[in-house]
């Protein structure tokens, strides 16, 4: 099992360019998440998905769009990159919650994005 993988690992963009980050998981998890990590701020949730074809906004969704066309993939798009989006992006996935059990999230290795 590869777990959660992210593509690419590094990327440099110019302001105004667009790009898509790909997250893939092979654990058959229903839930998937995109976070950004900035120094001194921990991880903040951008968007998440509770199943194929459904997405929802997290804490900091502005400037990002997502799609979950296949259960195993969760794409994060930046339509017009800004320097404020320079960050490390982490994808995570978790299995469905039953009987109010806990929600352990498994994380990918991250994508380091720089916007000039």
């Amino acid at each position: 099992n590869a777990g959660v993988t992210q593509t690419p690992k590094f990327r440099v963009l110019k302001t105004g360019q667009s790009m898509t980050l790909l997250c893939a998981q092979d654990m058959n998890h229903e839930y998937m998440y995109w976070y950004r990590q900035d120094p001194g701020m921990g991880l903040r949730l951008i968007h998440y998905s509770v199943g194929e074809g459904t997405t929802a906004k997290g804490e900091v969704p502005d400037g990002y769009n997502v799609s979950r066309l296949k259960k195993q993939n969760f794409l994060l798009g930046l339509e017009s990159a800004a320097p404020s989006q320079t960050s490390v992006y982490f994808c995570a996935s978790s299995s469905i919650i039953r009987d109010f059990s806990y929600n352990e999230q498994f994380f990918g290795p991250g994508t380091r994005l720089t916007v000039l």
């Binding site: 921990g42 903040r44 109010f100």
Partner: protein, 114 residues
């Protein structure tokens, strides 16, 4: 909504010394609590979790944490650290309802010196 405060941003410690990382949370509902570890240039790994029951929880690599409801704290401890424990540590909270989102603290960087 829940929030987490990690009281120390940097903790330098000598090898084989004990370490404690402090975490306080705020929530109007019951919570689950987690500690994650991030080694340099890697993703996050779950270190331990509190769901219910015993307030002292043990995790991987000799770490343990104690849930204190009255003080709304979930401090992480290890009695003797190794160089390999150098990492960033994140405290996280989620509600016990059908809310799938984790709220993370800002992180504590632990640097272990020989």
């Amino acid at each position: 909504a829940q929030s987490v405060t990690q009281l120390d941003s940097q903790v330098p410690v000598f090898e084989e010394a004990p370490v404690e990382l402090r975490c306080n949370y705020s929530s109007s509902v019951s919570v689950y609590l987690f500690w994650y570890v991030q080694y340099p240039n890697q993703g996050l790994q779950l270190l331990l979790k509190y769901l219910s029951g015993s307030t002292l929880v043990k995790g991987i690599n000799g770490f343990e944490a104690e849930f204190n409801k009255s003080q709304t704290s979930f401090h992480l401890r290890k009695p003797s650290v190794h160089i390999s424990d150098t990492a960033e540590y994140f405290c996280a909270v989620s509600s016990t309802s059908n809310d799938y989102k984790l709220s993370f603290g800002a992180g504590t960087t632990v640097t272990v010196r020989a």
